[in-house]
């Protein structure tokens, strides 16, 4: 199924949205309230780097041990890559993104507003209250930027639309190994949620889900964890090596399968959705929760091992890894770690690590 050819291109989506009178926000990783932005007619377009940009611009302001996603974002911005957007949203997922927020606010201010989001680290009632207040502050910023003031009913409508999109996203993940899509086509579709309006994404996803379910694909089933599958050709390489991704715990994908909220208060409901999403080190979820989540994914998907595909210098990920891998080992789940820079092409070394890991899994079959 040629799903890739029908996914609208990012730039076309942005232009169309603006032509219709909307605003566009450049949103940095990882968690943010999509519904809140859309209620102000602001389309969130996520910026995960992007990969392969000339990083010499950003390097002037950032230390070499800052991850390539942050380096690339700053360079991309300085090269005019975000000129088309109206506002930049920076969730404080990690120290590096927080640092980028400071650099932009204090040293290289762009000609557009910067809206930081402070994310709490936990799942306590106080965390929900904090995040709800934080969203109210963002509401006020967006009100000042757009001149709009959506009502509670408007906010709820927007939330329902995003919840609908996330519901089909979850269905796609659940049916992943039976869908008539290669891994790369599947993840192109999933990642189109990073910039498509929810309603467009729902249409595309439902068309895929409506196709006849084929018998499960063949290959060594693996779980892919980490930040972002870049370069995307990684997924083709994994297929060529005789494996298939049957589940993921990627920051850009599986960790953002937000459950529906419960509250009737729109801002609180948005907060609940993020707080109760699958565990993520950038939201301070303990390793125990991550372990349980991974084991559940493995059990449900039949994955035989975990590939941690991480961005170099990503502190939240790398701090957890030794303990997490040790815990998985205790549960007899093999894993491997690969660290990449999102500017590098897929290297021989990366492929050898994955291939050697697949050989281990194959021996155990």
């Amino acid at each position: 199924m040629e799903v890739i050819s029908v996914i609208p291109r990012r730039l076309d989506v942005i232009n169309k949205y603006k032509e219709q009178g909307g605003y566009v926000a450049a949103v940095l990783p990882i968690h943010y309230p999509r519904a809140l932005l859309r209620a102000f007619n602001v389309l969130p377009v996520e910026v995960w780097g992007p990969p392969r940009v000339d990083t010499s611009h950003g390097a002037t302001h950032l230390q070499p041990y800052i991850c390539s996603i942050v380096h690339n974002t700053l360079s991309f911005l300085q090269m005019g890559g975000l000129d088309i957007t109206d506002v930049i949203i920076i969730p404080h997922a990690c120290d590096s993104l927080q640092g980028l927020g400071s650099v932009l606010l204090d040293f290289v201010p762009p000609d557009k507003p910067i809206v930081p989001i402070y994310l709490p680290r936990g799942r306590r009632e106080s965390d929900i209250v904090f995040l709800t207040r934080e969203f109210y502050a963002i509401y006020q910023r967006l009100e000042a930027i757009t001149g709009r003031a959506p009502s509670d009913a408007d906010l709820m409508k927007s939330i329902r639309r995003e919840e609908g999109a996330d519901e089909v996203l979850i269905k796609l993940h659940q049916s992943h190994s039976c869908l008539p899509l290669t891994d790369i086509a599947f993840y192109r579709l999933i990642r189109s949620r990073e910039y498509l309006p929810a309603e467009t994404f729902i249409e595309l996803a439902q068309a895929v889900l409506a196709k006849d379910i084929k018998k499960p694909r063949d290959g060594i089933p693996i779980l892919l964890s980490g930040i972002v599958p870049e370069p995307m050709s990684l997924l083709e390489a994994i297929s060529e090596m005789g494996a298939m991704v049957v589940a993921d715990d990627l920051a850009c994908c599986g960790r953002r399968l937000y459950p529906p909220g419960r509250s009737g208060d729109p801002l609180r409901r948005m907060a609940e959705r993020i707080i109760y999403a699958p565990p993520d080190p950038t939201r301070g979820n303990p390793i125990r929760e991550r372990r349980e989540h991974l084991l559940r994914l493995i059990e449900n998907s039949g994955a035989k091992g975990v590939v941690f595909y991480d961005v170099k210098f990503c502190e939240p990920e790398l701090f957890d890894l030794p303990t997490l891998r040790c815990e998985l080992q205790k549960a007899k789940v093999p894993s491997v770690t690969v660290e990449v820079d999102i500017n590098d092409p897929l290297s021989h070394q990366t492929l050898t690590r994955i291939e050697a890991f697949l050989e281990i899994l194959n021996e155990r079959r």
Partner: protein
Amino acid sequence: MSGIKALGIDVGSTTVKIVGVDTEGKMCWHILEQAEPRVEDQVERFLDHTRQVVGTLDRIPLVATGYGRGLVEQATRSVTEITCHAKGVYREFGHGGTLVDIGGQDSKVIGISPEGKVLDFVMNDKCAAGTGRFLENTASRLKVPLDRMGDEALSVVEEVPISSTCTVFAESEVISLIAHGVPVASILRGLHRSLIKRTVAMIRTVGIVPPLMLSGGVVLNPAICRLLEEETGEKVVLPRYPQLMGAHGAALFALEILNDGSQVS
């Protein structure tokens, strides 16, 4: 030599090795050469040479491993160097443990189960500082022949810590130490220590399961083995042909193909 039943070729970044095994999997023949820029030509030459020894390669499966395994078109199959090293070393020792392979341009640590299976591994191939190249570069600065480095380093007790984590910067540090009149042997001992500390960090990532087994070209240097024992407190065992473990493992996989009767042209 008619005893060769299967072949393994290890195309590394510094050396290329080919090993032949008999029906029992015993290594009965090998060639080892420095890697040439045109790997395909070198492999072809190796195979021509092998043909002269065995007559025909028609029913002899070949498994390729190592950095350049994808370039060996003649191979029946390719297997990564991780799996092949584990296989070769297990065949040699008959037990599991932790294999440390320090090659010219990369190093790896492989945890091997009592049954010879790979449990976990870690590789360093991005930075020369944890590899033989680290010693090679600085040795040339110190004008000490490579095969004398280890003995020189072990000839003294005093060692000078080398603080640079990068091979290129270590070279500059060495130059400055020489200029300050520091004895060459003490610098060499410090350089070996630095390489070993980096290796030990990799070993700890995988977790030490004794015994420690050492392979790779750098093993021929006695200071590596001694300092590794000092740093880990573990006895280190060495294979008879430390540079051929990957190729031997590949040949053993080739033998399995032969025994399965599959895909041999």
